[in-house]
Amino acid sequence: MKNNEMTAPLAVKAKKKIDRQLLGLLIFVIIMMVVMSFLSPSFLSVSNLTNVFRQSVFIMLLGFGMTFVLTTGGIDLSVGVMLALSGGMSGWLLSMNVNIVPAVIAGILVGMLVGAGNGLMITKLHITPFIATLATMSIGRGVMYVWTNSIPFRNYMVGGFRFIGQGDIFGLQFPIVIAIVAFVILQFVYRCTAFGRHVTAYGSNEESARVSGINTDKLLIKVYALSGLMAAIAGITLASRLETVHPEMGKGYELDAIAAAIIGGTSLSGGKGTLIGTVLGAFIIYLISNALNLLNVDPDWETIVKGIIILIVVAVEFLSHRNKKD
């Protein structure tokens, strides 16, 4: 995958393609909303849509980190488990009456450290990202079981902590605020900082990035630590939202996060990513299951329909892209 040489004009083309893809996604969301508003009266309400957005926040946050990771040409399968470890750390400390500030900071540190560990394995031990993060996933899940002894952490809810997952600011649920803030900051980092440019450069062509003097090891470690950081934020928010940290918390989230990023137009082979696409991707995943739930579709059918819709979303983007070319 990394052998794809992406020259400058190609990169420009790729950017244009991303914009079209975003347009395609937006059109899809709008069509879906119109159709659904006829089918179910409760779909197009503010409360329903904010609900869907709130449900998608956790995948979205993981997806942000994943977008960076995928842009480097890597993958991070351990986000679900980092989410659990961080949420677990905060919850566990709170249940021992530690003040909320150190508890949250400790949770975030856990995520970043595990993420940096992934980065170290990948760069220093030369283990492929897939295997390194798969191993972390297995180890982390094991740690969750040893740590909780299979009994979920609970009874850690204090007022301030409850606010993170359940409070609101100006009528906006706080998890949504977190996602928006994270998006704005990361969008800036991705587009306007040297770090962001290096990530794209590395993903487009590892060799030339190295030659041009980028410390690639450091870069990768930072990227995986960022993924851990996002997982930690998601995990702490989820711990506050669910009021309990189950050892299985976040299981399977990694695939949804990857799907969100890719639906949004981030490439699995690296060099190309878009955070706004990830926002839309995560939103669409939850919008689909919300719509199917509201229509009371048989849960067996839900699995099929979800898969087909994801295919349609991506295929429609491709076809519209081709038509324009013709």
């Binding site: 794809n4 990202p129 899940r141 040893v146 059918w301 295929a315």
Partner: protein, 319 residues
């Protein structure tokens, strides 16, 4: 440049991981009095081959630079198709053929979506796994598929030939065929060529689309074979059968030295990878390791195995 290096080290590629496997084997033989029992070795092989078969297909897919997340679902549904036909009184061979056909058909659909619509393999197969799992859920709404345990069929998984469980026997035959296919045919060479550099392969006249569809078909077919054997072993097919197999298969292939980035694969490596995974879980049972520490140990062993492999292969490369 890179390609040359790959060709050069090919002969020694599996050495590092082979050493890891042998070390693990020796360790378990010493640590547990039950490990070398005939039944245990039979069990161990039997427990490994289902992932191994899927891993073979995955190895081809990874080598061409793709990924196939739908193998677990295809495995489940193909087994169900075979089961349904046999349960309805159909001929066993017909049932098996239909199951294999189902797997191959889904593989072809994967391949066509990837090549014709140019959607990322990850997404196509991720969505396909959802679709196929859904179809399986629908065909098991009234409970698991069962009632197909006629002796001719269950013999496939429960019988023995010269002390080897039949699935192991079948896997060996499949291995020989695939090894030939991978090493000595233009198909195999083209798979590697496309994975190393699609552009170059295309320009040198390789019909990339055909080969890609072929690879996904092969992956579907092998998943189906594994599913049918698993159905014969379990004598019932549940909606969740094969769940998570894609990860094990990928892990088996990658531990065995197949590159996630394409262009480099090893069938023998996939075997060793699957056996290592099988030995880990068998060993953990035999050594009565505390439940909660198991996943930690599995993860640690994967890291050690791959890091060791990297270390030794770098060394041989220098020699």
């Amino acid at each position: 440049m890179k390609k040359q290096a790959v060709a050069h080290t090919k002969k020694f590629d599996e050495l590092g991981i082979l050493i890891v496997m042998i070390a693990l084997f020796v360790f378990l033989a010493i640590a547990s009095p039950f490990f070398l029992k005939v039944e245990n070795i039979q069990n161990l092989l039997l427990q490994s081959v289902f992932v191994m078969l899927v891993g073979f297909g995955m190895m081809f897919v990874l080598t061409i630079g793709g990924i196939d997340l739908s193998v677990g679902s295809i495995l489940g549904y193909s087994g169900a198709v075979t089961g349904i036909i046999i349960a309805a009184g159909g001929n066993v061979f017909l049932g098996i053929l239909a199951g294999l056909g189902t797997g191959a058909a889904f593989g072809i659909i994967n391949g066509l979506l990837i090549t014709q619509l140019r959607i990322a393999p990850f997404l196509v197969t991720f969505a396909m796994s959802s679709v196929v799992r859904g179809i399986l859920l629908l065909s098991t709404t009234n409970g698991a598929v069962s009632g197909f345990a006629v002796p001719e069929f269950t013999y496939l998984a429960q019988g023995y030939i010269i002390g080897l469980p039949i699935p192991v026997f079948i896997t060996i035959i499949v291995f020989v065929i695939l090894l030939f296919l991978f090493k000595f045919t233009s198909f195999g060479r083209n798979v590697t060529a496309i994975g190393s550099n699609r552009e170059v392969a295309f320009l040198s006249g390789v019909s990339c689309n055909k080969i890609t569809v072929g690879v996904y078909m092969l992956s579907g077919l092998l998943a189906a074979l594994s599913g049918i054997l698993l159905a014969a072993r379990l004598t019932a097919v549940q909606s969740e059968m094969g769940g998570g197999y894609e990860m094990d298969a990928i892990a088996a292939a990658v531990i065995g030295g197949t590159s996630m980035a394409g262009g480099k694969g090893s069938i023998i490596g996939a075997i060793i990878g699957a056996v290592i995974l099988g030995m880990i879980s068998n060993g953990l049972d035999l050594l009565s390791v505390n439940q909660f520490y198991r996943q930690i140990i599995v993860g640690a062993i994967i890291i050690i195995a791959v890091a060791l492999e990297r270390f030794t292969s770098l060394k041989t490369e220098r020699v």
